[in-house]
Symmetry: C2
Subunit: 138 residues, 2 copies
DNA sequence: GCTAAAGCCGTACACTCCTACGGATGTACG
DNA sequence: CGTACATCCGTAGGAGTGTACGGCTTTAGC
């Protein structure tokens, strides 16, 4: 080849996207990447779970069927504002639903909250993050 | 009881934390909450995976063993700066390791990257987020 | 009816995080 | 040797996100 391999073929003005080094690897990966919709759902879910308050709320609701705002604040030892804000997002995403009885609002995991998600993410994930020094050499 | 149940017993100046409504539920949940260390590890991992670029890098490295920075940028159709920044964090967390060959740096999932984490989080999580309209009534 | 509690809502502030840019480093190649 | 390239680093700017505060609504009890 006489021309440079990555930025030498700018026949027009567009910022030519250079040629891959591992053509096969790129094509292989591109074909298996999640779709934009899947990616969006995934990152939304993971973002929700990546906040300490929200994650612990999910844990608490997983073991205790139903809890009100003030009891959640006691459980997590944070103020009720934080719990209120966290629940607002969890409800908006459909992960948590409420039942109102008098002036008390009881929160629980939504019926659509998939059981495998509970199992995988709320229970096993803890175990997995402990094995960071796992001698798996693949 | 003659005194109010939640804020009436401030014998000293400390901001007395009121009594729970569901004493049992709070105690039950508190006893099973993850420890601060576990919580920290979990939220760190979830935060890392909740970014679209980083998550897709993990996906790409899962299916194509090894990819360099510029090829990752091509695969995800983002600029190399974004990939570089994402990889910086993924390496710092130990999830991704590098192999240098000449002027090219190849990236791959760390050997310690637990296989079950690949399976659960990178493969099944996508499927799970599709079943949001699952008619599980528990 | 009046008071107090449970919870929600809207706003402002502070903070964190991502992106983009410029330059620096080390390496292939003629 | 000098040029082009792959990548990394530090920094500055802007967007997004969580927390704190005040006020509002509904309900229970007297």
């Amino acid at each position: 080849m006489s021309t440079p391999s990555r930025t030498g073929e700018e026949t027009s003005g567009i910022p030519e996207r250079g040629k891959p080094i591992d053509v096969e690897g790129v094509a292989h990966a591109q074909a298996r990447l999640p779709s934009p919709e899947e990616l969006s759902r995934l990152t939304s879910l993971l973002s929700l779970m990546s906040d300490p308050v929200r994650l612990r709320i999910l844990y608490a609701l997983d073991v205790s069927e139903e809890l009100c705002v003030s009891d959640l604040a006691l459980t997590l030892d944070v103020n009720e504002d934080q719990v209120g804000y966290a629940l607002r997002l969890l409800r908006a995403s459909g992960l948590v639903v409420t039942r109102k009885s008098g002036r008390i609002v009881y929160n629980r995991l939504a019926a659509g909250f998939p059981e495998p998600l509970r199992d995988h993410c709320l229970r096993r994930l803890v175990a997995l993050t402990c094995e960071t020094s796992d001698p798996h050499t693949r």
